[in-house]
């Protein structure tokens, strides 16, 4: 099933690899920041409710 990439194997796999790395990093950063701010906001809301 794996296609024969011939002499372009390195370039093609390099391209796919680089793209996956960049996009994965982007997704991870977005998800982590989202989680972090959610936590901080919940804590601040709780503190406000307690006052």
């Amino acid at each position: 099933m794996w296609p024969d990439l011939g002499k372009y194997t390195d370039t093609i796999l390099g391209a796919y690899g680089a793209a996956i790395v960049v996009l994965a990093a982007l997704i991870i950063v977005y998800l982590r920041r989202n989680a972090r701010i959610r936590r901080a906001l919940a804590a601040a809301e709780a503190r406000k409710a307690a006052r």
Partner: protein
Amino acid sequence: MSFWEFANPARFMRLSGRVLPWVAGATILCLSAGLVWGFFLTPDAAQFGSTVKIIYIHVPSAFLAINIYFMMFVTSLIWLIRRHHVSALAAKAAAPIGAAMTLVALITGALWGQPMWGTWWVWDPRLTSFLIMFVFYLGYLALWAAIEEPDKAADLTSILALVGSLFAVLSRYAVNFWNQGLHQGASLSMDREENVSDIFWQPLVLSIIGFFALFILLLLIGTRTEIRSRRLRALQMQEAV
């Protein structure tokens, strides 16, 4: 219900929250289907050999890089005219996605050109324009990061986005003039009209949809984060008093 209803942050949060799982599902589905189909199930092309497989990443990312910049232009304009915070925050959330897409387009573009031109980088008009756009994105992000006051940051980055868009378009023409005639015909851009064969066209469309869905997904997540961040800042300022 007009489109401007979404400008209300609370309503935006509710709606985006409901829509989010569907967008995530669409992203995973279309992206994996498009890329798997393109990579494993398509033949080599006459002109490019097996390197044609790079288009399933290069074309969608390039397409999005440009469209995200245009989206930032529009949302910046909306902020400056109608002062809808969701608009300004959407532009802020979109920028890193656009920068990443530009980077992917640059890397895949350079790698695609390498077998044909023998070097890792060429000053092809298309690649050069993308490099300039990447620097524009970086400047925009740097300005957001440098300014403390959120509304002032939104104002200044919006003005930058407007002027930047104008000069991005100007640069495109200037770069064509600068490097004209060098690689015409062998340009990396495979215009969708030139793509005659359905064999490549269909997985490509699927990939484009997948990338677009990814953009919407991250945009929604990012904007929601920014809205929450703004609320957090307001609470922190209250606490400090």
